[in-house]
């Protein structure tokens, strides 16, 4: 019944990180076989939607120290500084490698790669390809991956569980979506690169596929999820759809105003309101601070009321049509199509929307997890280089740096390992944990997938939004536990085998409920405010107690167990996060 495929390395997820890992393995050793699994065709991975750019020190006026400092302070000192050091050092190389693979970076008049200013960065270092950087990077990586015959793709395979034998990850189970056939992939190393979990929230820039599947897989197999309480709200998403309007629009000089036409960010220690984009000030402040400012403006009644909720205005008119068409063509198209506003003539209504999960599968600086044989990279992982708040354009670079490291690590392990796990043992484990089989067999108890999903979304927004309290989180915790219990009572309405999306949504919901639980419990446990985790009942940052990563350990029948690990501090002692005109 179960089809078994034997390979050297399995990679789950074919977005930027997964593809980069696959290429790294193929280039290390052409004899290693690679099974690249993805629940969607690679070109659909959510990397494709990233817009603004990828950061890496590029020009003489910049330094690795600057990038390091910007990232560490941007992350409110929750970043592991050894990892950040490695990250900023590798970044320029990786971006140049992309250029060598054909990535159509935007250029300066002399032909060198161009860079643009970005939020929270002292010096401009964000490489960009118009305002479709993620799209161009993903397609460059995917097209480059086609050069390597060793990379065997399994498109539209939904990975369900890790297979662990004698404390080592030895493969995965996966559903072939178009036949309904369960597969066992037997491997010497496994890399998870499945992206974040923004879809646990109701308003998000994230596409349908961002459901935290890989995070849940690792979590259930005993790997901790780190820093899950840190969820980034991107300050400028379109109301209603949540479609992302890139930070690049602010990098090019766009401003944010409230209903009085006032550049309100100056009231939140981000001023002075210079007319030109001053680095790390005003609209180029870090995302968490901008989203929090919106929340405060909303409380003061200074936001603009629209049928899709409260918004502020992102004004690009002063940039002029030529610059907008050259640097921000997609922004113009998105605003015009989806909200009926042409940014050349009118300001774009925007609001904060959930965008990125800083937290994820606990990995070290080499993309290794605590489970031997398992690696993770990209948004699904937490190294951590992003700490409590990610700077825009660091994550596209992160895919490359840690995708490559995961690939190298997996390749080394695969070359060192002599054999595979016993096939029978794997089959038995697969059969025992068969989520798909259970879903097909159960008659259910009256719960609906859509109903549970909506309740989960609602409680996440209400309890674990931009500002949290003990009460709001406790309430959400109770709701989530209830949802987890009720999940056992859902049933499939579609019991077909060929491309059953009712089934896939059920599996995704299960993953989301697990991941959401980790977010809430981690947030409850962290009694301080830091970066994107803001508590109205603990408003200050508490380095004495909380200069630590939270680690959520899966408990099958109760709340996750939370413990802590010290943040690696090397040369940047926690200081005040200063933005605006005060800092040099």
């Amino acid at each position: 019944m179960l089809k078994m495929i034997t390979t050297d390395v399995v990679i789950v997820g074919a977005g930027g990180a997964g593809l980069r890992a696959a290429i790294a393995i193929a280039e290390t050793n052409a004899d290693l076989s690679i099974a690249l699994l993805s629940k969607v065709y690679p070109m659909r991975s959510h990397t494709v939607a990233a817009e603004g750019g990828a950061a890496g020190v590029a020009k003489d006026n910049d330094s690795l120290d600057n990038h390091f400092n910007d990232t560490v302070s941007g992350g409110d000192w929750l970043c592991d500084q050894d990892a950040v050091d490695l990250f900023v050092k590798e970044a320029p190389r990786e971006l140049t490698q992309m250029e060598h693979w054909g990535c159509p970076w935007s250029r300066e008049p002399d032909g060198h790669v161009a860079v643009r200013p970005f939020g929270g960065m002292k010096v401009e270092r964000t490489w960009y390809a118009a305002d479709k950087t993620g799209f161009h990077m993903l397609h460059t990586l995917f097209q480059t991956s086609l050069k390597y015959p060793a990379i065997e793709r399994y498109d539209e395979f939904y990975s369900t569980d890790l297979l662990v034998v004698d404390g080592q990850c030895r493969g995965v189970t996966a559903l072939e979506m178009r036949t309904g056939q369960m597969h066992v992939f037997r491997a010497k190393a496994v890399i998870i690169a499945t992206g974040g979990a923004g879809r646990i929230f109701p308003f998000t820039t994230n596409g349908a596929i961002k459901t935290g599947d890989g995070m849940a897989m690792a979590y259930r197999a005993g790997v901790a999820l780190k820093d899950m309480e840190f969820v980034q709200y991107h300050p400028t998403g379109l109301p209603g759809t949540g479609i992302l309007i890139t930070e690049g629009s602010r990098g090019e000089g766009g401003i944010l105003v409230n209903k009085d036409g006032y550049r309100y960010l100056q009231d939140y220690d981000l001023g002075p309101p210079d007319p030109w984009p001053r680095k790390k000030a005003m609209e180029l402040g870090p995302r968490d601070r901008l989203s929090q400012a919106f929340w405060h403006e909303q409380k003061k009644g200074r936001t603009i009321d629209t049928p899709h909720g409260d918004v502020v205005h992102l004004d690009l008119r002063h940039l002029g049509e030529k610059r907008i068409d050259e640097r921000l063509p997609m922004v113009r198209d998105l605003a015009t199509s989806y909200i009926g506003v042409d940014p050349v003539d009118a300001p774009i209504p925007v609001r904060p929307v959930v965008h990125y999960t800083m937290g994820g599968i606990d990995t070290d600086i080499d993309a290794k997890t605590s489970l031997k044989g398992l690696f993770a990279a990209g948004e699904c992982a937490c190294v951590s280089i992003n700490g409590a708040n990610r700077l825009g354009s660091n994550s596209l670079t992160e895919l490359l740096v840690f995708g490559k490291r995961a690939g190298l690590g997996a390749a080394a392990l695969a070359m060192a390992e002599s054999g595979h796990a016993d096939a029978t043992a794997l089959r038995e484990q697969a059969a025992a944990g068969d989520q798909v089989g259970r879903l097909f067999q159960t008659a259910g108890g009256g719960e609906s997938i859509v109903g549970l999903r909506r309740e989960m979304n609602a409680t996440m927004e209400a309890g674990a939004g931009i500002y949290r309290t003990e009460d709001s989180l406790s309430e959400s915790c109770a709701v989530m536990n209830d949802l987890r219990r009720r999940y056992a009572d859902i049933a499939l309405e579609d019991k077909s085998n060929v491309y059953n999306t009712d089934l896939v949504q059920a599996l995704e919901l299960g993953a989301m409920i697990d991941v959401a639980g980790a977010v809430i419990v981690s947030a409850l446990a962290r009694k301080e405010s830091r970066g994107s985790h803001q508590r109205l009942d603990y408003v200050a940052r508490d380095d004495a107690a909380y200069l630590k990563h939270s680690l959520a350990h899966y408990e099958p029948d109760s709340d996750p167990r939370i413990d802590y690990r010290d943040v690696v501090i090397t040369r940047s002692a926690p200081g005040a996060r200063v933005y605006g005109g005060d800092q040099k």
Partner: protein, 129 residues
């Protein structure tokens, strides 16, 4: 476990009726038939001219029949349609970029009409003179 992809058939004869753009395309393609036929008429004319004065006279008389006039009307219309549709797409086949500037479509299309006018003018002059 039981895939059975279903292939939809497209009618070989009537596919082009499904969309206006396909009908316009077929019109453009069909124009070649008339242009080809007209070319044959011209060749026959040359042959008759080479034969004898009488043969040429008969050919010219045939050209003046109603059937011939109707045919030539269609042929001219289709030739014009063919020429204009092809001219209009030339910028796609031969974009001209000088440095940063891409020549506007109108320049390339205009150049084709200009060349057509020059050649036509020359032919009229030769035919008349």
């Amino acid at each position: 476990m039981s895939r059975r992809p279903y292939t939809r058939t497209v009618s070989a004869a009537s596919w082009w009726l499904a969309q206006p753009r396909y009908i316009r395309y077929m019109g453009r393609e069909v124009s070649c038939v008339f242009i080809g036929a007209y070319t044959a008429v011209v060749v026959i004319g040359l042959i008759r001219l080479a034969e004898s004065g009488a043969a040429w006279g008969a050919f010219v008389a045939a050209l003046q029949t109603p059937a011939s006039l109707i045919f030539h009307g269609f042929a001219l219309a289709f030739a014009l349609y063919h020429a204009t549709t092809w001219f209009n797409v030339t910028p796609k086949a031969m974009p001209v970029q000088i440095g940063d500037i891409v020549l506007p479509d109108s320049v390339i299309i205009g150049a084709h009409y200009a060349a057509w006018a020059v050649v036509s003018g020359l032919l009229f002059y030769l035919a008349g003179g």
